[in-house]
Symmetry: C2
Subunit: 108 residues, 2 copies
Amino acid sequence: MPLQDVLSALADPTRRAVLEALRPGGLTVGELARQVLTGEGMSAPAFSKHLRVLEAAGVVRRDRVGRTVVVTLEPSSLDELATWVESTTRHWSRTIDRLDRYLEQEDA
Amino acid sequence: MPLQDVLSALADPTRRAVLEALRPGGLTVGELARQVLTGEGMSAPAFSKHLRVLEAAGVVRRDRVGRTVVVTLEPSSLDELATWVESTTRHWSRTIDRLDRYLEQEDA
DNA sequence: CCAACACTTAACCGCGTGGTTAAGTGTTGG
DNA sequence: CCAACACTTAACCACGCGGTTAAGTGTTGG
């Protein structure tokens, strides 16, 4: 679940929609598809691939239950991302006027 | 700067490296390239394209200064992302055991 | 058992993304 | 002025990603 995998996993609207749909709790693949793919005519295999990507990124887990597969969120999988965003933006507020830094170097 | 654009912009290591390099403040494209592309033999045009993506996502700004171009961070461009991550993960802690939800439905 | 169900895997395909080199655009220093 | 500098745009190419259909894998009701 390195940052790289999480970010590319989230850079897809279908995948983000899956996360939204799972917020109340785990769902079977079928139920998930019914909620997420309302309208868009996406095939089951395509959807399954998206789930694979999310799973590979460590964002969700898939467990076979009877003949269905239940998908659940993997809590703390976005911690690294949250930390990165936080630590990145924190310093931005202190950023001086956009030209100053360059001009300083120029003068030296 | 919709979430979609920001996420796909960040889903590239070179682009993230640019943000890291800009944390202390704005830099010219050349200086930025020197810091970010140490080692990887990436061409200037390729790098310029990455900057274009970041700019289109609203994450950085490019200003011509003399014959150089200064790149600066666009503060608050990651606010939407931070909010999304926050609001997404907040509920995860409350997520019930991964099977419960499904089994409830099954019983009904 | 086995037919049907709920998905996944396999094989394939078009296209967008990330890379290249070559040519173009501003902006000085001399 | 104009040559050189600092990038960017244009044109092109390879390959990975998101999509498809067809076939495979577990699992259970009857």
